[in-house]
């Protein structure tokens, strides 16, 4: 308190206590959400409701996994029955073990191709780097089921091109390759996930201060020792994080094990889950599926915790500052051809070969080696015989989803980011944790949760099951983690005073979002929109679990053709699907160029 005897000061004497007022801060609702601000209220309500749903779904899975008997039956009680059936059923138990092996093989293959490619792109004078980045990002877009089909056609023990060629023409006594194994499936999955290892590691390599490598070299260390002892060590937390991410994806991956493994009765978690939800010869085992999902939820939860710890420890490596350094570039000189041969081999194996084979398969009545007879048999028959009613329904549904899912997801994500980063809602950071949950828990578990929710709890309230809306809802939840990461990271970069200046200009939250935030965030939003549209277009996993004959999507049409053994039609539809993606992919490529987002 100012000394009131001070004559130079004009401070009015006061009876206020001189000590600090000890009251707790009174945050009245009118300050947090003024009633004149309907947009702010709407965003908080939306985020609250969505969070509630996201939290409810795993809880439903958890609770139903302990209910014996029919989930909704009032006479059923709680027990470990379903867990017992998971761990005593040799097929289920085997499927879980397979999943672990499959994920690890996937990781190894993804790293073998992804890490050297990242190093070449960030740390050498490799020519045509933009091409490498373009191929890597676009490579993610070739649907997993398309590459899986290609590889199955190549290396199936009985019909695979390579095997047939080696036994009939070269004279091997039996087929030397079998893709329909866990190792084989891991190989295919790893090839398709290598771009993720590439993009995540390239970002880490970019952030390492080259002075650290240079000082190691100045102290006399050999080239390979610098890479081993300095570069790899510094990049290690980032590499490990990308590894955990890839294992998490592999754990719940569906496309490859479904196309290659299921018909050969080799199951991983997600394909086995499908057999429990939609068995051919029995009633669905919802309880067992819930128990299986809970086990996977626990495993992926632990992985996510580990990932989170790694991220929070990353600041210990103060050298990786995220500042834009000019990296130390190593001249490849005479090894340039070797580098591009390696990268070329990757693209041929992961994209080009499978695609060619699928085209080949789509033109033949049944799959065979190239021969004079085969060329004569080539026709458009598979395309003409596509069940067009199914196809058009799938196309319609997929188009609706592709337009709505990215739009609504981004709208929700922006609301999440605004509530977390800008609003004054107490406990707002919890919402960010909720938005991250669908990333930590495999999407397929959310699919199972929503299935159970709509089938048993909402069945008579909202007839949600079998509609397109259920897919829309689950797809939004499945993408919300990615979308909120994007909106968070851009909103953080927008100076808060830009919004405060608008507030002082006399406008409410709605105008701020529409006139200030959205235009500034537009480049990122467009980029994220197209990316999510592409992922929605090719999404098979979630659709398979929730689909019925009325709400099927294009990838599900491929899947049902494949399951009924009509490989030619499945290949033909896959090709149409890929062709439909081309314009959107070109648009995506243009957006990346234009906005300069992405690592390039």
């Amino acid at each position: 308190m100012a000394d009131s005897s001070a004559t130079g000061a004009v401070i009015e004497p006061t009876a206020w206590p001189a000590s600090a007022p000890q009251q707790k801060k009174r945050l009245s609702l009118r300050f947090i959400l003024p009633k004149e601000d309907p947009w702010a209220i709407a965003m908080v309500v939306l985020v609250g409701l969505l969070s509630l749903f996201i939290l409810t779904i795993p809880i439903i899975v958890l609770v139903l996994s302990f209910r014996d008997g029919r989930p909704i039956d009032p006479t059923s009680t709680y027990s470990f029955m379903h867990y017992a059936s998971v761990f005593t059923d040799p097929v289920a138990y085997r499927a879980l073990l397979n999943t672990v092996t499959f994920s690890l093989v996937t990781l190894v293959v993804a790293f073998v191709f992804g890490l050297p490619a990242a190093w070449l792109a960030e740390r050498t004078n490799l020519p045509a780097k933009p091409l490498l980045y373009t191929l890597m990002t676009l490579g993610i877009l070739l649907p997993g089921f398309a590459t899986a089909m290609g590889w199955l056609f190549m290396m199936h023990p009985r019909i695979g091109l390579v095997n047939v060629f080696l036994t009939r023409v070269v004279g091997f006594s039996e087929a030397p390759f079998n893709i329909a194994t866990i190792i084989g499936m891991g190989w295919v999955q790893g090839l398709s996930l290598a771009p993720i290892a590439f993009i995540m590691t390239a970002a880490v390599l970019k952030a390492i201060d080259p002075a650290l490598e240079e000082s190691a070299q100045m102290s006399g260390a050999h080239f390979f020792n610098v890479i081993r002892k300095v570069t790899l060590r510094l990049a290690w937390p980032g590499i490990l994080a990308s590894g955990i991410y890839i294992v998490t994806i592999g754990f719940a991956s569906f496309d490859v094990p479904a196309i290659i493994g299921m018909s050969n009765r080799i199951f991983t978690f997600s394909t086995y889950l499908l057999t429990q939800l939609a068995p051919h010869d029995d009633l669905p085992h919802y309880g067992k599926a819930a128990a299986l999902s809970t086990v996977v939820m626990a495993v992926s939860g632990l992985l996510a915790l580990w990932y989170g710890r790694l991220q929070s420890q990353a600041h210990r490596y103060q050298v990786v500052t995220g500042k834009g350094y000019r990296p130390r570039i190593i001249a490849l000189r005479k090894y340039t051809w070797l580098a591009w041969t390696f990268l070329g081999a990757y693209f041929v194996l992961s994209k080009f070969l499978p695609l060619i084979i699928v085209i080949w398969a789509s033109s033949l009545p049944y799959f065979q080696l190239p021969s004079e007879a085969a060329f004569k048999a080539m026709s458009w028959a598979n395309f003409l015989n596509i069940p067009w009613d199914m196809m058009l329904l799938g196309l319609r549904n997929t188009s609706i989803l592709m337009a709505l899912v990215p739009t609504l997801t981004l709208a929700c994500a922006l609301a999440f980011s605004w509530v977390v980063l800008r609003s004054k809602v107490p406990g707002r950071l919890a919402f960010d944790f909720v938005a991250f949950l669908p990333h930590a828990i495999p999407n397929i578990v959310f699919g199972v949760g929503v299935l159970l929710l709509t089938l048993f709890l909402l069945r008579n309230v909202i007839p949600f099951y079998g509609t397109l809306w259920i897919l829309l809802f689950v797809f939004i939840i499945g993408r919300i983690s990615y979308a909120t990461r994007m909106t968070n990271s851009t909103l953080i970069q927008v100076h808060r005073e830009l919004e405060e200046a608008a507030t002082m200009s006399g406008v409410g939250t709605g105008t701020i979002v529409r006139r200030v935030l959205l235009p500034i965030l537009a480049p990122t939003m467009i980029y994220a929109w197209i990316w999510m549209a592409l992922l929605t277009f090719r999404e098979l996993t979630l659709a398979v679990i929730l689909t019925t004959k009325d709400n099927l999507t294009l990838p599900v049409v491929v899947w049902s053709m494949w399951q009924s053994g009509d490989y030619g039609a499945a290949s033909a539809i896959t090709l149409i699907l890929i062709c439909l993606m081309v314009p959107l992919t070109a648009f995506y490529w243009w957006a990346v160029r234009k906005t300069g987002i992405e690592t390039t």
Binding site: A6, T7, G8, T14, W16, E36, T503, M504, G506
Partner: protein, 365 residues
């Protein structure tokens, strides 16, 4: 007119609570240029943001032109967008996706008080003319220089013709030369509009040149409020004396009652000084503040009062003067001398201080 009464705000974080504003009261008269001055973390910006409505005070009342916009007692809260207050931010907060014109038109187009569309153009152009940006109306806002962005932010704040203008360190992002120019322009603009203004800064020179009234803040409280001349010449306490300009601060004890012209005698470590006590510190333990420019070299022995004997310890030539450290007993004095009359390091010197420049004051506000 802005009236702030008993304003308090505490920040709560997981680890600690921080009393950012502690029972602050002040009044800004209509048309007055009022400055909140203080080091970073003193609560000046928080106080300003409370007036704006961007922060919610825990306690106290804020009135603009007599009407409460925030009151803890009466439970009144007007959201910031309905207070009709213009504000210029430290970062200028120019919207990068709009043209210069659109930035200024924004409050008219979308603000609470809607302006008829026919009036928008003339009003925007008038505001831009005032800050001499009318010729750049169509330019994209990010293509402006720092000084132009600053003027654009001012035009955007003026255009609504608000009752009150708040300026949050608007000059701190400009380079030194531009800052000096804008200082003069800013006061001229604000005064010509007759706008009631609160200005926040940590630069004493900005506060001294721009303000009608300065409130020096420390630790969430106002340490002294007064005209720039008062604040400089009659600091009320040791903190203000040292923060506004530099001061040598020496502890001492008052030994006499004030004389007819308000002088007291103060005992310090090395002897007795005749001091003025404008802030009323006329008894007990006090601090004596002496500005470096008020210490004069004198030939040994004349006059006999308020003369310090010391040794030149360091000198640093800074152009128009020499900054010296003179050791007097245990105490190091900052002294400013004319470059032509600076003795060599190690010389014995006598320094005289006029009694009216020896200010006795309390240590704390």
């Amino acid at each position: 007119m802005i009236e702030v009464e008993h304003l308090s705000l505490t920040y709560h974080s997981a680890k600690q609570t921080h009393l950012a504003v502690n029972d602050v009261s002040f009044t800004v008269q209509k048309g007055q240029f009022y400055t909140l001055l203080g080091p970073s973390g003193c609560g000046k910006t928080t106080t300003l943001r409370c007036v704006a409505g961007l922060e919610r005070p825990d306690l106290g009342e804020i009135r603009v032109d007599g009407a409460a916009v925030s009151s803890s007692d009466k439970d009144i809260w007007i959201p910031p967008n309905r207070r009709s207050i213009g504000m210029v931010f430290q970062s200028y907060a120019i919207w990068p996706h709009m043209s210069v014109f659109e930035n200024v038109a924004f409050p008219l187009r979308y603000g609470v008080k809607k302006t008829p569309s026919s009036e928008i153009k003339p009003r925007v152009m008038k505001a831009l003319e005032m800050v001499q940006l009318d010729h750049l109306a169509d330019r994209a806002a990010p293509h402006l220089s720092g000084g132009q962005q600053q003027r654009l932010a001012l035009a955007r704040a003026f255009v609504m013709e608000p009752k009150v203008l708040l300026l949050d360190e608007p000059l701190s992002n400009l380079d030194a030369k531009l800052r000096e120019e804008m200082r003069i322009e800013l006061r001229h603009l604000v005064k010509s509009m007759g706008m009631t203004t609160i200005f926040v800064t940590h630069e004493q020179i900005e506060a001294l040149t721009l303000s009608d009234v300065i409130a020096v803040m420390k630790d969430g409280k106002i340490a002294q409020e007064g005209s720039p001349l008062d604040i400089y010449q009659k600091p009320a306490n040791a903190f203000v004396a040292d923060f506004i300009g530099k001061s040598n601060l020496v502890p001492g004890t008052v030994t006499t009652n004030p004389s007819a012209n308000g002088m007291v005698r103060v005992d310090c470590a090395w002897g007795s000084l005749a001091c003025a006590a404008p802030s009323g510190a006329t008894s007990g333990a006090i601090m004596v503040a002496i500005r470096p420019e008020h210490l004069e070299l004198t030939p040994s022995g004349t006059p006999d009062e308020n003369v310090l004997q010391g040794t030149i310890e360091t000198t640093a030539f800074v152009g128009n003067m020499t900054d010296c450290i003179v050791k007097v007993g245990q105490h190091s004095f900052k002294v400013q001398l004319h470059p032509d009359r600076t003795p060599a390091v190690g010389s014995q010197v006598s320094l005289y201080i006029a009694a009216r420049h020896c200010l006795a004051m309390r240590e704390d506000a």
